[in-house]
Structure formats: C-alpha cells, structure tokens
C-alpha cells in the first residue's frame, strides 16, 4: 500500500522540557491510524510539527514520498495535509462558505465570487452527506456541524492526509456514527487519517492500526485486530512511579466537605464525595471530563445548578469566590497566568492579595504587616526571589506556583484544592510542592488534587474519584490505585469491565 507519511526520529523540546524523543510514525493510504497515549504523551505535538505549527528539533519527515518540512499550516494545507483540531477555531461571524475559502477565495477581479464559493461548498458538504446552507453563519452551527465544515475545508484542499485530534470529545453518539461514516468514505477515496483519541471503544471501531506514545516516546505500533484494550492501556501507562512522592503520614479525621449529587448544566452531573481532615482526595479523568469545572463550581467561580454542599456538617451555598474564602476554601488554579497571579505585580502584593483586607487598618493597607506576612511566606515555602518587590512574571514556574500557594495559605484554609499543581514546573520544584502538600495534610487540612499526570495523582492521593464526560464512573481506595484501574474508569468503562 502507498505510504503517505513517514516521520522518523522526531525530537522536540520546549525549553528544558523534552516532549518528544526520537519518535516515529507512519501513515498509509486508505488507513485510519490511531495515535494514543496519556495527556502530555506528545501526540498533538507530533501532529503540530507535521502541520508546521511547531518545528522539530531533529528528525526527518517524508510526505507523499518527498522529504519536506512545512513552515506553516497554510503550506501544509496547500500540500494536501489538513488537521482538524480538538478546539475548533472557526471565524464565527463569517459564513460556512467564507470559512472554507478563507485564504483561497474564489475571485472575480478584486471581488470575491460568492456564488462560486457557495456552489463549491455545497458540493463538498454533499460529499459528506451534510446539508448546511453555505451562507449560514458559523456561529449558528453546533460543534458537530462545525467539525463537518472543517472536514469539508480539508476536502476543498484535496487533502490526502487528514489529522483528527480528539474529534469526538464534544459531539453526541449519533453524530459520532455520522463522523465515522465519513471517515470510512475518506478512506475509500485513498486518504489516510491520523486519529488521535482517548476513547478505547472508538479506536477498536474505526482504526486499522494503533501507535502508542508514552512520555514523549514511541512504544509500539500494532494492527488493531491483534491487540486488546488491556495491552494498550499497559503500553500507555507502563512505567514505574518514581520515588519522589512523600510517604503518606496524615490520617483521615472528621468530615470537612460533603458533596451530594452536584451538577452543572452541560458540564457535570451527579457527583458525590466526601473529604476528611488530613485526607488527600484525587480527582482523575481525561481532558474534558469536567474536573476543573467541578472544582471551579465548588469554589464559587461558577454556579452549581444542582446538588448540595456541606462544610463541617453545615449546608452552605457558595456563590462567589468570596464566600469560598470565608468558608476557608482555597483553589490553586490550573492556569497560573490566567487565573492565579498578577504577573506584572510584585511577589509581595500577590501573596497578600487574599488576606490584605483582613489585616487592614481601617481603609488603609497595612504595609508593614503585609510585608512581614509576605516575607514569612517566602521563607516558609523557600520561594526563590531577590525580594518581595520582585515582579512575579520574572519568576520560574515553580516559584510562581509557590507564590499562588503562599497567597492561599495565609488565609489558613481548611480545604485546599490543587488543580494541576505541577504543570509546567521542573522535577525539583515538583518534589517540593509534593512535600508541602503532604505537610498540609498532616496539619489536618483536606486536600483535593486534580492532575493529568497519572503517577503524580497516584503518588499523592489516599483515595480517588474518577470522572468520565462529566459523570462519576467510580471511586478507588488506596489499594486500588493503579494506572490500569484509573484508565479503565476514565475511558468510561465501569469497574471490572476491562
């Protein structure tokens, strides 16, 4: 069979973080080749390298028998290589036809030939069996329809390599069927599809071959008919947990937080769990499972639309972050830059931002007290700064994370939620953060941890709940915390199914 794509020995680093290590991947005409691995395994990065969004540090890329590297997505598109991103990025205020022809408009003189564009659009959409009037604005479409438009766009370039990054993460089952129908059609026409997904059952339904990445490394490629889900999961997670996690020393005490049937429309539903003093509860799930949404709602940053929350046996209604702060909840957010820190402000100001109201003298900012508090925190968490007036944005990721932590610890919270506490920070800083988390648990605080890094989650948690597409698929106790068990629940199978 004709080989459409061969990528050999591709390596890529972002700063000091090596995300791809000499990986390989190939795609034949008329096949669906699934690329799987945990979050951060390097799947999307590899495909973005192919598309010219990133450039590889080393390695060879052969497309349609010719060794070439694309400089930009548009160059890749014109060379008949298209990618349907997980987060679709259409221009909402333009029509379907205008989106498809963006950058290669049909012209008549200096004018856009709208009629011709719409005719051709109808033709492409027809090939996919979709009936959307070409003049419809993108914002009027649902996610699945937008996806079809993206595929139509790929067709309009005559794409023969089509990459789909988690195409089913936001569409319904019947829409998935339709998508699969179209994928099969594209296959018959000789195109090759790279299919990135987390969902086991889909892989077995649609793919011909499967390649597994783990930690930026290639592990195995197999014919789909020759493998089992268990083997794949093992290939995805099969590594030793490093001995960097502190021993569990804390013990669970009285109940701090009790959540019953919590739900938020379109995001998650029927989530119930309890958190005790001194306990570290992990929340596992794949991207888009609703983990961040759940904790944001518990913190009052968004509103719960169902269920009830009790803190220390008392029913509470947390509507704003202020309420949460008063109830002694802290949220160390997933994205420091977006939600956690004022990067252009100084370290001291960030550290006292939660508590400065408490220590004010009348309306006046109590500078001496606040500076003292900030200095103490810098020492206690050994944050590496030149002084508390240093601009926060100039710190390393690990130290920035400690600043976020410091800001919350000053409020002496009972419940601390860590959402991806070690994202983007190096191993040394990670170990320090783990130690701090363990110390907090020993002080009797209740800890909730979200992490996409499975070993981290296992290493830190006493207990875990697993979410899949906004639902709780199960809970795991400390002796059940294995990557296989988590992956099984996280990909939507019940306990014992796999």
């Amino acid at each position: 069979m004709e080989l459409l794509l061969r990528m050999q020995n591709i390596s890529k680093s972002f700063g000091t973080n090596q995300v791809l290590r000499e990986v390989q991947f190939e795609l034949r005409a008329g096949e669906v080749h699934a690329l799987i691995g945990e979050n951060g395994a390097g799947k999307s990065t590899l495909m973005k390298i192919l598309m010219g969004i990133y450039s590889a540090d080393s390695g060879r890329i052969t497309v349609f028998g010719k060794e070439q590297t694309f400089e930009s997505p548009s160059q890749a598109l014109h060379a008949k290589v298209a990618m349907i991103h997980q987060e679709l990025n259409p221009i909402m205020e333009l029509s379907v036809a205008e989106n498809i022809f963006m950058g290669k408009e049909e012209r008549r003189g200096i004018f856009v030939d709208k009629k011709k564009q719409e005719e051709k659009t109808r033709e492409y959409l027809g090939m996919l069996g979709v009936e959307i009037p070409p003049g419809t604005l993108m914002k009027e479409l649902n996610v699945s329809e937008m996806q079809m438009v993206e595929i139509a766009k790929a067709l309009s370039y005559g794409a023969r390599i089509i990459i789909m990054d988690e195409p089913t993460s936001a569409i319904t089952d019947s829409e998935v069927e339709k998508l699969f129908g179209n994928i099969r059609k594209l296959k018959e026409q000789g195109a090759g599809i790279v299919y990135i997904s987390h969902k086991m059952n889909e892989l077995f339904e649609i793919s011909d071959r499967i390649t597994v990445f783990r930690d930026g490394q290639y592990t195995v490629t197999a014919e789909t008919k020759n493998v089992t889900p268990q083997r794949l999961i093992k290939a995805m997670v099969g590594r030793e947990i490093n001995e960097i996690y502190p021993e569990h020393k804390s013990h669970a005490g009285e109940t701090l937080l009790s959540v019953k049937n919590a739900g938020r429309e379109g995001e998650f539903k029927d989530i119930s769990f309890e958190l005790h003093r001194g306990e570290k509860l992990g929340i596992a799930g794949l991207m888009g499972a609703g983990r961040t949404e759940l904790v944001m709602a518990l913190f009052g940053a968004r509103k719960l639309t169902g269920g009830s929350v009790e803190i220390k046996g008392e029913a509470v209604d947390i509507r704003t972050p202020r309420d949460a702060i008063r109830r002694k909840i802290a949220l160390v957010t997933e994205d420091r830059k977006l939600y956690g820190l004022n990067l252009i402000g100084c370290v001291g100001d960030n550290i006292v931002s939660v508590v400065e109201r408490k220590y004010s003298k009348g309306i006046f900012h109590n500078r001496r007290k606040c500076n003292g508090l900030a200095e103490d925190m810098v020492k206690r968490l050994s944050i590496k700064v030149t002084g508390i007036r240093q601009i926060t944005g100039s710190l390393s990721g690990g130290n920035q994370q400690k600043v976020v932590l410091a800001k919350w610890l000053l409020n002496e919270p009972d419940i601390i939620i860590f959402d991806e506490p070690t994202r983007g920070i190096d191993v040394g800083a990670k170990t320090e953060i783990y130690k701090i988390i363990e110390e907090l648990a020993c002080e009797g605080k209740g800890i909730i941890i979200i992490s996409s890094e499975m070993p981290e989650l296992i290493g830190l948690s006493h207990r875990m709940i697993v979410l899949h597409e906004g639902r709780m698929t199960g809970g795991l106790d400390i002796d059940e915390l294995t990557q296989e068990n988590i992956m099984t629940l996280a990909s939507g199978c019940g306990k014992g199914d796999a």
Binding site: T320, L338, G340, L341, V354, S360, I363, K407
Partner: protein, 296 residues
Amino acid sequence: MVVLIIVMSVMSPTFFTSRNLLNVVKQASITSIIGVGMTFVLITGGIDLSVGSVMALSGTLAASVAAADKNLPVFAAILAGAGLGTLCGLINGIGVSYIGFPPFIMTLGMMTIARGIPLVYTNGTPIFGLSDSFNALANSRLLGIPTLVYYMVVFSAAGYIILSRTVLGRQIYGIGGNEEAARLSGVATAKLKMLVYVFSGFLSGIAGILICSRITSGNGTVAQGYEMNAISAAVIGGVSMTGGYGSVLGMVVGAMILTIIQNSFDIMGVNSFYQDIIKGIIILLAVFLDLRGKKK
C-alpha cells in the same frame, strides 16, 4: 523633567523665575486633577474618554447655579457641579461593570452626550455674571500662591494615598494586573471597577467647576480635548494603557512635562501648531522608553 527644566532655563532666562514656575504648576493643575481619575481608570485596564465633556457639563451647571442667585453660597454650585460629574461617572461605571459595555464605547457615548447637553441648555451662548465667590474659586491666591495649585496638591495627594496606601488601591492594581485572578482572590471586581469611573466623574465635575470659575463663565464648549491631555499626562508619567501599572505621582510629572513644553514654547514664541507636533512626539518617545525599559 529635571533635564527639561534645566534645558529650558538655559534657553530662556524667564523660564526659571518663581513666577513662571508657579504659572506652570497652575496651568498643569486642571489636567492633573482629571489625570488622577484617569490614572485610576487606566490602571484597571479601562479608559475614560468622557472627562472633558463631563467637565463642560458640570461646569455649566455649576455656573448657572452661581449665576442664578448671587447670594447663594458658592458651596451650592460646587455641590451641583461635583454631584452631576459623579452621576455621569456612576452611569459610566454601571455601563462598564454591570452591563458590559467596553469602556471605550461607554465613555465615548458619555463624551458625546455630556457635550451636547450643556450646549442645548445654554443654547450655545456662554453664561456670564457669575457670583464673585464662584469666580474667586480659581482666580485668587492664598499666601501668595494661586488656589489652583492647592486644589492640585489636595486631589493628587488624595489620589496618591488611595492608590498606594489603601486596600482599595491595592485591589485596583490587582484588577488591572489580572482581573480573573483578583476575582478568584475574593476581590469585588465589578464594584471596584464601577467606583473608579465614579471617582473619575467626580474629579471631572470638580475640574469643570474650576475651569468655568477661571474663565468666569459657564460654557458648553470648554475643556475640548481635555480627556486627551489627561491620557497623555498619565501615559507620559508611565501609566500603562493595558492596566496594572502606574502611579499618580508619575501622572503629575507627566502633566508638568506637557505644561512645561507648552509654557516654554509660549515664552520662546513658537507657533502653537508646532507645539502639537512636539507633544505628539514626546508621548510616543515616553512610551517607547517605557517599552524598552520593560523588555530589559
């Protein structure tokens, strides 16, 4: 600014006389007062284009109060002008914080409306015959120093203290630095954002009264382009247009620099058209130096 003062002193002997320097401060006074409000708004990441028009609106109302009954205490006129300015600011604040208008649009609308109302009200003719006490507000001296200088010192100092010493002030920087992070830290971001527009409106009201007192008439066409003076002063003084950064002190220095340039060109007899060109270049230069500094 020091460099500028030295250069000007060398080039023009009349510049460095105490009389002329006081004159500079006096000229910078009104710009500085609205500049304080502008600094607050800019630090939250917003902008207030309506200050010049709100000055005209509140000044006209204050003047008409002062002209209506000469025996009314001047306090009544001040209250009316400052009150109306505050109301305009409140409308801006609600529009931005609770309805969700972009600050540029909300205050652009207010700028146009607040310019139109006094023109309609006075039918385009200035109000003369204001009470003496009203005229004295901006045209008298205390201990040999023009009263305008005192106003500037009082409002700048108040602004400086609020911004750098109060919790409110710290939170205003927090909003400009990262609004979402501030909200998640328990800051009442919407309320605070509204308050900065209220404050800017209040100061515009005060400045409107002062400018009408100074020219001894109420007039809907006064203070044209003052919003740009206030923004220029802030930007030259290092206040960030994207929020989170800047100080009242810097803004005052910016206002001084603008005035010194104008003053010295006046002394040297440079055509006022050239003054505009130079002003523009200085704004760009100030921000350019700021950008260069930040990259390091």
